[in-house]
């Protein structure tokens, strides 16, 4: 199945792109997507403990099962609002 992956903030800089398309086996989880990119994006491993991820614009945990067409995002700690 194919999913779309978005990168924001500092993670976008580390990934070198703002979006990617990923082909995954059926029953893949969000944790599988994190693991996939941890081996491919230098510096992602160091940030894994602080980042969040979303599936179809909802915060999600590792166990979340993915479906074809899902939109996944890597979200660093947010810094909107004021200083």
């Amino acid at each position: 199945m194919q999913v779309r992956v978005l990168f924001f903030g500092v993670l976008k800089d580390l990934a070198g792109q703002s979006s990617d398309s990923l082909t995954l086996p059926e029953h893949a989880t969000l944790g599988d997507v994190l693991a996939h990119y941890q081996t491919r994006i230098v510096g992602l491993g160091n940030l894994s403990a602080s980042l969040a991820m979303s599936v179809n614009q909802q915060y999600a945990a590792s166990e979340t099962q993915l479906r074809s067409g899902d939109e996944i995002a890597f979200l660093p700690p947010v810094s909107g609002g004021l200083n």
């Binding site: 903030g9 941890q38 894994s48 614009q57 700690p77 947010v78 810094s79 909107g80």
Partner: protein, 162 residues
Amino acid sequence: MPLECLRCAQIVRERIDVSCFANKIKCPEDGAIVAFEGVVRNNSRGRRTLFLDYEAYDEMAITQMNGLIEKALSQFAIREAVIVHRIGRLQIGETSVAVIVASAHRAAAFDACRWLIESLKQTVPIWKKEYFEDGAVWAPGEPFPAEIQRPRDQPSQKPASN
């Protein structure tokens, strides 16, 4: 700018006219309107700031901000609330976010407004990059609160090098 839906959040790319929103949200039952503006400061952690770039995961940010407004409406005795966040390049002194709350009595309006901006800073997917004379950094951001669902780290998959 269309304002049919006041009980909602907006992401904009142009200057926020806070008094315009405050005037439009007002209703005869209101005894208080509290408006907060987050403004770009000229310094950050001892460095002189030149300007900021804000970026957002737009659809998710609006959903999250709308969720905060719904929570505020249920937790505080307020009638209405609106959040407007600006993204793109902002200069010193410009307003990056406005939170406007209307209620019959001022105590609830102050409390709800504060709660909304404090909560927004923790969960809404918007990020800012700070530009200084000698470089630029993504602002570190606050840790996600415990109630946010997050992936567990996968230590067995970490790259060998550091």
